[in-house]
């Protein structure tokens, strides 16, 4: 089919769906006036039952913790798949030089850039760690902080040479961190079972409200998520950057055809 035919199909679908969607939109609860009591009950109960001030973290890591374990594993699956795909023919070996697109200018790094990058990378790294640590108290947490820490690695690439980046950021270590984080989450879910509690039951002391270590098991789960996300995104960025390395004896198979 060509583009015109596809657009005709879309228009037909639109003609049928537009009245249905209109009916649906008009029947929706009015914006800003939710019907659900679920959130209100969480807001009312969680600070009392768990001594925690960030309700989103309470939902993520405790009340609906098994959801988050599932999402965590999605991350694992997506990253494992990406690594597998990118490494497939490239192999495990690493290159020392960055590649370049012919015809595009490559300005050399000035000292100021290097300094700035080192500075920002450090700040970003620390900020990410801070965010992971304070996940149960203020906005942020393992997911956001982990991504920030991982992206601070990229600044190393920007500021230092490609070789330095390769030497500092170690693939297998990051992969191990990723796996360990996920494993820790699974253990946090499984260990309470041995004591006769429900899976993921918050059996640790809850701490005091607004304290760094408030929320009991949530703190541990949050750190586990942080480790896993740092590992996952670190591996991800590493493998993507590796795609732009200098071609040596690139074994890309030009398959049977063309």
């Amino acid at each position: 089919m060509n583009t015109t035919a596809r657009i005709v199909l879309l228009v037909i679908a639109l003609v049928v769906l537009a009245p249905a969607a209109g009916m649906l939109i008009l029947a929706m609860p009015a914006f800003g006036h939710p019907l659900s009591q679920y959130g209100d009950v969480v807001n009312a109960l969680a600070p009392r039952l768990r001594n925690i001030s960030n309700m989103v973290a309470a939902v993520n890591f405790d009340i609906r913790g098994i959801d988050t374990l599932g999402e965590e594993c999605m991350l694992l699956a997506a990253v494992t798949g990406t690594v597998m795909l990118l490494r497939g023919h490239r192999g495990e070996d690493m290159s020392e030089r960055a590649g370049r697109v012919p015809g595009r200018k490559q300005p050399s790094r000035s000292d100021a850039t290097v300094l700035l990058c080192r500075f920002i990378a450090t700040v970003l790294f620390l900020f990410g760690i801070y965010m992971v640590l304070h996940g149960t108290v203020t906005p942020g947490g393992g997911f956001q902080g982990g991504v920030i820490v991982a992206s601070s690695f990229v600044l190393l690439y920007l500021g230092e040479s490609y070789r330095a980046w390769r030497r500092i950021v170690l693939g297998p270590a990051l992969a191990a961190l990723e796996g360990t984080g996920a494993l820790a989450y699974v253990l946090a879910a499984a260990l309470p079972l041995l004591g006769g509690y429900a899976a993921l039951q918050n059996v640790l002391p809850l701490g005091t409200w607004k304290d760094l270590f408030s929320g009991g098991l949530m703190v541990a789960v949050n750190y586990a998520v942080g480790c896993a996300v740092i590992g996952s995104f670190g591996v991800l960025l590493l493998e993507f950057m590796e795609e732009t390395r200098a071609p040596e004896n690139d074994p890309v198979p030009d398959e049977e055809d063309e």
Binding site: T3, I25, F31, V56, L75, H89, K210, F240, E243
Partner: protein
């Protein structure tokens, strides 16, 4: 105002699908998928929103002050992080396709071809 959020969500999804159907570059198509996905985020956060309520974080204000629904926020938050990894997966597949075929035009890529 009371239906604007839902209309925006529907519009984003619709235009994303339009973009996918007419796309001529796989990287563009993946961007359109991201637009479709952002429609679901707008919908979900819109569902949990409440006028004159604060964020569901009781650090500056004490528990009991009106706050929006934390449940949908938790649902969206993790999904955003996963979506980045999924985008990476898609881009990785597209890159490998490009290495083998030399094109990224979705209208020239099909898994099987007629044997002549």
């Amino acid at each position: 105002m009371s239906i604007l959020a839902w209309c925006v969500a529907a519009w984003l999804f619709g235009i994303g699908v339009y973009g996918i159907v007419t796309s001529r570059h796989y990287v563009h198509l993946i961007g359109c998928l991201a637009v479709c996905q952002s429609a679901t985020y707008v919908l979900l956060l819109g569902i949990g929103f409440r006028w004159h309520a604060g964020p569901p974080i009781f650090y500056d204000h004490p528990p009991g002050t009106p706050a929006v629904d934390p449940v949908v926020q938790a649902l969206v938050l993790t999904d955003i992080v996963v979506s980045a990894a999924m985008t990476a997966l898609l881009l990785a597949i597209a890159l490998q396709v490009h290495k083998r075929r030399g094109t990224l035009d979705p209208q020239h890529l099909r898994p099987f071809r007629q044997e002549k």
